[in-house]
Amino acid sequence: MLHKHAKFVDVSFKGLLWLCIGATLTTTTLVVVILGTEAYHFFSLVPITEFLFGTHWEPLIEPRSFGVLPLVCGTGMIVLGSIAFALPIGLGIATYLSEFAPNWVRSTIKPTLEILAGIPTVVYGYFALTFITPILRSLFPETEIFNAASGAIVVGIMILPMISSLCDDAFRGLPSSLREGGYALGATPYEVVTRVVLPAAGGRIGAAVILAVSRAIGETMAVTLAAGASPNLTANPFESIQTMTAYIVQVSLGDTPVGGVEYLTCFAVAGLLFTITFIMNVIGSQLLLKTQWQSRS
């Protein structure tokens, strides 16, 4: 019986837990080490300046060129478009739910929106391809089958629940005395929201946007399906583009020999992806922590 040797079990139990912690540490180490070494191999073949500042991305067909800017630009368009789509809607939802909605509406709508967060990304890709793109094409006939706009909208839908729930938390986390102060001066709810609530929750909304941007940057399947696979340096949202993530998928779907330069490009692009999202996540989560502390004191 375990209880008979309780003291011994105590020590072994703690040791066992310690080992399990190792799993998370190993994962991080592996990510950094693998991306680092493979990217190092890549940069011994391709100069890092060509990679970072080159404007032409054609690594699979001769003559090859390894300028990552078209991919970064593709990702950037998706990110900008999706935030432009999701932030106003998310703020509107959060305002409605936290300031105006009766309790029963709130308790129905919140879990309903959570459904959006649980839908797999490949489903969004399908939705963009077969629903959003046809609508765009009927509105703007010059739209290509694969286009950045459709991808941006669908990624916007994906990050919408994240933005609305983080903003909702931010609004509800504010002390009610703040609002009461505004209302006591005879302000309308609109004035309270725009002059009191929004400025006070600004930091947390910023954190929500940063975290959402990081999500959008890492988004893969939806943009692969909707936005296409042509690395163009363009600002036209109705053209086909390619994001960093979509490129990695494209390589892995083909038969690329292990160790070749095409294979290594994946790691260079993923390294860039990891660095960007990592920085944004650190800033975002620190901002969340900091603003939490401010609202408490």
């Binding site: 209880h3 459904i115 649980g118 797999p120 489903v123 077969t130 309308t188 893969t220 892995s252």
Partner: protein, 281 residues
């Protein structure tokens, strides 16, 4: 007197309502669109057939089995590690620099794009550990992906267990492991279970990391062991959706209906668990 202010207020309220409604309309049209596209090709037979070059002959059998395998293996690997890490962080670690560092590390792991996990799995499991494109490699990759989700959810559940319960346990002369395993974890179990189910629904909806490690989209057999090659529902759906033929899009939609049904069932279970144990809170 102040009519403009009140009109602006009314307009603002209606705008917020309209934006909320818009989100609901998007969700509704997503579900309706997929139902409309996919329901005609959905049949029991569709679930029993293997993939095929011809859309009317293609089915989901291997993907369904693959998803089931992946879900079970991932749960088997990630759940013990995740709960153990959460227990250590909440119950044992003092608030020193090391534990804070681990906490930050876990938060960041949760934010790494899934495709990076795919590359990690490809390099470590498929290449270095020679697992090939097997269920093992897929499940291990997804385990790394969902581990932080399980840890964070379990931590929240454990933190929600009131401290007097721990004090009561220790006052009876219990060792830490007895208090943790007999009192704290059982009290936190509904929350932990909910987190685990959400993490697993994330795992079975993921396709990018599995495509990276080389999950195939044409698997004409049912995997018989964790060493076999496999495909899963989202990978199969992606394959069909990325084909130009419209008839493949229809069966992609049918596949999505099946996938969403699986996910909704899992979420329903999570809600039921939460509901059943609510009274202890």
């Amino acid at each position: 007197m102040n009519t403009w202010r009140y009109r602006r207020q009314a307009l603002f309220l209606w705008m917020c309502r309209a934006l909320t409604l818009l989100a609901l309309i998007i969700l509704g049209s997503l579900i309706l669109h997929i139902a409309k596209e996919g329901v005609s090709t959905l049949s029991l037979d569709f679930l029993h057939r293997f993939p095929s070059r011809f859309p009317h002959k293609a089915g989901l059998k291997s993907a369904l089995y693959g998803t089931l395998w992946i879900m079970c293996l991932t749960a088997l690997i990630a759940v013990p590690f995740g709960i153990a890490t959460a227990i250590y962080l909440e119950e044992y670690s003092t608030k020193n620099r090391f534990s804070r560092w681990i906490q930050i590390n876990i938060t960041n792991l949760a934010g790494i794009p899934s495709i990076v996990y795919g590359l990690l799995g490809l390099t470590v499991f498929v290449r270095y550990l020679n697992m090939g494109q097997s269920l093992w490699a897929g499940a291990l990759t997804l385990s790394l992906l969902v581990l932080p989700i399980i840890v964070i959810a379990s931590q929240e559940a454990i933190r929600a267990v009131p401290n007097p319960i721990r004090e009561a346990g220790y006052a009876l002369g219990a060792h830490p492991w007895q208090v943790i395993l007999c009192q704290v974890v059982p009290a936190a179990l509904p929350g932990i279970m909910t987190g685990v189910i959400l993490a697993l629904s994330r795992a079975i909806g993921e396709s990018a990391p599995l495509i990276m490690i080389g999950a195939l989209s044409y698997v004409a057999f049912v995997p018989e062991g964790p060493g076999d090659a496999f495909t899963v529902l989202p990978v199969q759906i992606f394959n069909w959706a990325s084909r130009p033929q419209v008839s493949f899009h229809a069966i992609a939609a049918s596949g999505i209906i099946v996938l969403l049904c699986v996910l909704f069932t899992m979420n329903l279970i999570a809600v039921l668990i939460r509901h059943k144990f609510q009274r202890y809170k």
